[in-house]
Symmetry: C2
Subunit: 250 residues, 2 copies
DNA sequence: ACAAAAGTGTTATCGCTACACCCATGT
DNA sequence: ACATGGGTGTAGCGATAACACTTTTGT
């Protein structure tokens, strides 16, 4: 069986090492695969990261990204969605793969490759679910993260970098905002994510000039200042702009 | 042993599945990891992909990306460099990870996750090496690729998309050009990679305005038109620009 | 009255586009 | 002479930055 597998390796892969070094094919099938999810939520003030508290060694008690091992018969994109679904009951959240981490010693139990995904959700849509492996779920301001388990700090930083790049080209801000929002909220979101300041007047002109927002006719209420108009994202307009070759830019 | 390993899984990972479903930890360590390298070279006319011809099943005779399985004790970034070194004798080539592919049925021999890397090299620096698993190495114009082995077409397309994004923010064009080059060559490169056309005068003003190029004082020779000035990339100037927070933009 | 954020208009400047034009070389 | 790409100047347009100002709410 061992021998047969090795032969088929040679036939199938045609790689040199098998024929020359007579290393068993099984030696190469020793990896485990996991997904780690950088779930970001925005709450009017700050960008926040969803973390769980680890209840086991190693790194017991530390905060960690929600993640799990991938089953050998499971697609990794689906595994990432599964992790999110076990935590939140959100459906159809877009999980974006951004980087993979394969350092030899990153996990004590063996060689575990992890694939990083991020997703953006509105905090007001978030409804945590009971999950036996995630007793303590919390949001942490990404600007004030403690030391997380494993190499999760590094993973988060890379996700944020990747997010910033993407924000400039796609109107993903909408995924982080409630269905109806004011331009002030939107500006605040962009300023938070990109870590810059915009001039109010100019920001409004630019955003409204894109024609991607619809007035809902409603106004904010219960705010200690002049209430702002509530807008919603016009997805149809965005898609037709994409057709005609358009790039969203800030 | 089996039992012991399972216990340690519970302690170490603290994940639910082990405790509840009593699935052996070994079930999760069945993955193999490979790297596939999208090596791009530019030759004055077109952007080209380095491919090898497969000498074994499956996909025998088809062109494929150079790639290999990663050893269980090998870092995957280093594995990617190893693949390139076995092919070319180039040193210090920057390999950039861009995406990972983990579809369950993507490889007939088992669950093989592959991590895609790309690198950019000047064709004039390229010196192919003898490699028993890569008998036939060739450059193919990326605009005229045949059907490649496995999911390699998809991988190449993603690499090119990723490259385009990066080109706009970093002056990676220099990695693809000879040490000394004319502005015309540079413009041609950018037009090829980004698949756009630039106005000559404006391109020059923009590029020269960045202060990243140095005149070498030399001129082109043996060209059937007015010889162009040869420039070289001023890496120091680029690095000090990075320090002061600058973004290269086209 | 005041704070605080919504919302608008103006101006000056910068960058980019488009286009026209000249230059040097090989055939 | 001509084709080919190198190399430069400029006029006009449009986007953007900077800033001042008015409006509407809650306290």
């Amino acid at each position: 069986m061992e021998e047969k597998k090795e032969n088929s390796l040679e036939k199938v892969l045609g790689h040199q090492f098998s024929a020359f070094y007579k290393i068993s094919i099984d030696k190469f099938f020793q990896f485990a695969l996991s997904v780690d999810c950088v779930i970001l939520g925005y709450n009017e003030e700050s960008l926040n990261l969803l973390v769980i508290e680890r209840g086991a060694q190693p790194h017991i008690g530390k905060m960690a990204l929600p993640g799990d091992l991938v089953y050998p018969s499971e697609d990794m994109d689906l595994a990432a969605e599964r992790v999110l679904n076990e935590l939140t009951d959100l459906e159809d959240v877009n999980m974006t793969q951004f980087h993979s981490y394969g350092q030899v010693d990153r996990h004590p139990i063996g060689r575990v490759i992890t694939v990083g995904y991020y997703s953006l959700i509105s905090v007001d849509q978030f409804e945590p679910l009971a999950s036996s492996w995630a007793d303590n779920v919390s949001w942490l301001n990404v600007k004030k993260l403690p030391k997380l388990a494993f190499d999760h700090n590094e993973i988060v930083q890379e996700a944020l970098r990747s997010l910033k790049e993407r924000v400039r080209l796609q109107p993903i801000g909408f995924e982080l905002l409630p269905k109806e929002f004011t331009l002030g909220q939107m500006q605040n979101l962009y300023e938070t994510v990109l870590e810059v300041k915009f001039d109010k007047a100019n920001f409004r002109k630019k955003i409204l000039g894109m024609g991607l927002l619809e007035e809902t006719g409603k106004l904010q209420s219960d705010v200690p200042h002049r209430p702002g108009k509530l807008y919603s994202f016009n997805k149809k307009a965005y898609e037709s702009l994409l057709q005609t070759g358009y790039t969203f830019e800030l």
